[in-house]
Amino acid sequence: MGSAYITSSLKQQTGLLYDCPMPTPILATKLYLPPVRSKFVARPRLIQRMDEGLDHKLTLISAPAGFGKSTLASEWVTASGRPAGWLLLDEGDNDPTRFLAYLVAALKTVTDKTGPTTFGAEVLGLLESPQPAPTESIVTALLNEIAAIPENFILVLDDYHVIDTEPANSALAFLLEHLPPQMHLVITTREDPNLPLARLRVRNQLTELRAADLRFTPSEAATFLNQVMGLSLTEADVSALEIRTEGWIAGLQLAALSMQGRADTASFIQSFTGSHRFVMDYLVEEVLHQQPESIQTFLLYTSILDRLCGPLCDAVLNGGADSSAAQSGQEVLAYIEQANLFLVPLDNERRWYRYHHLFADLLRQRLYQRAALSPDDEPGVALLHIRASQWHEENGSTADAVRHALAADDFERVARLAELAWPAMDGQFQSAAWMEWVQRLPDDLVRARPVLCVAYAWAYLNAGEMEAGAVWLRDAERRMDTSPPASESDDRPMVVVDEKQFQTLPASIATAWAYIAQARGDIPSSVTHAQRALDLLPEDDYLRRGPAAGLLGLAQWTIGDLEDAYRTIAHAMATFESIGSVVFALSGTFGMGDIRVAQGRLREAIGVYARAKELADRLGEPAPPGTADIHLGLSKIYREQGLLEAAEEEMQKNEALGEKAALGDWPYRLRRAQAQVKVDEGDLDGALALLDEAARLYYPTPVPDLRPIGALKAQVWLAQGRLADAQAWAVERGLSVNDELSFLHEFEHIILARILMAQNQNGPAVALLERLLQAAERGERRGSEIEIRVALALAHQAQNEIPAALAVLARALDLAEPEGYVRIFVGEGDPMRILLEEAAAASISPVYVGRLRAAFGEPEVSAPVNQPSNQPLVEPLSDRELDVLKRLGSELSGPEIAETLMISLNTLRTHTKNIYSKLSVNSRRAAVSQAQELGLL
């Protein structure tokens, strides 16, 4: 996958270099329903209880280790005939994102039984977005998808006791609370989960099977020992064993294994039942002694493995030396499974296995003891871990290789593995997991490795820790410094594992400095560093040039160096395209479009989007991320050109494609665009609500925020006549007419001028606008220029300086005519209409002015704003619509309302549309006041 190699973390943080979602890698072995053994003890009393509980929400199987919980669950699920998903949990699933990803994967095994489905696509999209949604919204989306599954099914969460963090647990609690009726949940656990069990019990929604239910009854014990395990014990023997083990199944199984092939079972039973020793201690010893020496060794050595397969076991036993063993690892595993020695298959091919956890723990204990007792004969536990690490490394499982290397305290090895793994892991957004490994290493060891230092620095930058990142960058630079060795004790020789990364290290360091400078708002040095990175990199190193060029482009954009920025970004995007990374290539579109708009080149901006659309279409379905943004961008431009139908059409395409096909900060930009629509329609309160929503969704990226929400709100306040609020904003932002001007704050200064105009301080406003105009002209920002000239013309008009106003306006019209601007003039309302009449009289741009004057009428006349209506409703509201209406009257946001009603956002929109049309209103606020008037609320 090409994009996996694009090493910079930039893509994670910028909307521009969009991060293409990398699914959390899913281990199929965690989703494998453990097979039912051919010979087993039928347990009709338990199966019947579980069958009866099928209509309840939850079956809880809660008992200590070794009580046959998973076995029972898999037997029942298999016998029930219902489709079922299985998820074996481990400690890693305490990360709610991973937990939910696996939950989706397990549910997907249910929905995909009859062919692939798109189940979970929306949830996974939410999970992989750079700013994950709150867990509850994700679970809500998941619930909606579950509710659409056409058949009844079971989901088993095995080993739930490993979940001990609140986020994962509360995700499950929420799921359970709202569980759709077609789903039945089974939990196996060693301790009661922190779920509202008491409430479920009272509501009769819970079936519980506990240790007392699970332990073998005397007759089950007899069946097990004599039939399943092939012994022939008397009733008294069985009873003695049953009492000694208290029906504990693992204990009985070990006891049976100890007796298999033993002539004097009676004496075994006597000494076992007469002993006070912990059942497991006693029996594991017995069982091991029953096995040949080679099997004992095999069991002990391989007990360090979480998952076993034949070749891996061979490697751990022989360390890769030619196998002198009589049996291959694969054969031994088959024997161990056959012998009932607590080996659980993890797939149908009998490739991967694991030991029963309890058994593995006891084996490991003995392994440590044996290694400690006879250090000379035994290969030391650390060596076994290193062998396992080597095997995993050779077989491409770096995470396992590192885990074993850490267990062996082999830090050099961890450092080497980490250095080699960085590019791929960074490309897959596993920077945080990677960092956990390196944090375990002694700092000195890292410092000796410049490649590792730089990777570590990037990992910190990805995590938003600029200071820590800078420290490691400086360490790397010190290490790279070829001048005579420093006097410090820093005399470890430099270690480089990955020569390829080393060669481009100076460029990588420069890119990192550019990134840090950008994040700190130090744009000039960001430009310097990014430029230096590009100078250092060969022309054809597309992988590394892309991010550096992206940063440079962003910096140039931020300082208003628009033509250079456009060229740099276009070049970076072409680079991504040429290495086959279309999604990355698409990601620059929005920036390029915005730059063209700022330059007042609307038609070229449309061209940018058209080309991007072609690129996206080439990828086909599903539409790649960035496609929605293309339509959003077009909608904004058409709106500017007064092409309202086309704008609406593009907006609908954009919303239909939705977040799945969008860049990271799309939700924010969508609200902003919607707010503009509201402003044009005269619904100013609606616009403010959307802007507030946008503010909540905003997160800083290196993409310059040229029209901050605060300034947009101040603009709306001015339109509402809320001058004091707008003024307070300007004070809070510390804006003054004497400020040094910059492109980044251009819009805020324009709004400041507008505030001054509203205060009738046209003199200072004119002075400020003239300075802004000069700056825009210098930067050839014609879009800005038109905007500033419009304001300036109005300021002159307010001072009754009509000739000056017309002179300023004439140039704006010249610039705007070929690009088809409409809204920027028409949106100003009456003062501009009057000024255009003067322009018409003075024969300024007669055709264009005529068109603009014609455009004025429409929105004024047909604006259907808050038409009061006392008529009873022609079409009554449905119950559901009344539910929605009630919540519209609250403080809840749209997504929150959808959540409380357990419906999707789309469904909510449909309801809202119906309500508005039945109430003849077009905003939430109007709907509420109308409903109050009609006594509906």
Binding site: A65, R277, F278, D281, L358, D361, Q365
Partner: protein, 92 residues
């Protein structure tokens, strides 16, 4: 987690159960069945004493509540029957 905070003081028995970071509390954990000496490592070096009733006493310093819960989890994961947990005076 408020590790620094004293949990409670059992005034009746006079047993201090304050858990300071720098001062471990001695605990005694009673488990059903006699454990082999090798479990000492598993339980982080707790001393193992077997009593005549067939129980095992794990005794040793426990640095804080988190460590105590960790020990109890080990008891759980080994499938052992937990009988009691008590703070004790050192050198009892």
């Amino acid at each position: 987690m408020d590790r620094q905070q004293p949990l409670s003081t059992n005034k009746d028995s006079g047993t201090a159960t304050n858990l300071d970071v720098d001062r471990s509390q001695q605990y005694e954990i009673r488990i059903r069945g006699h454990l082999d000496e090798r479990w000492s490592d598993w339980f982080g070096g707790m001393a193992i004493t077997l009593d005549d009733d067939g129980d095992t006493l794990l005794t040793g310093p426990v640095v804080d509540q988190a460590a105590l819960y960790g020990l109890l989890r080990k008891v759980r994961d080994a499938g052992m029957s937990l009988y009691s947990v008590n703070p004790v005076e050192p050198d009892k």
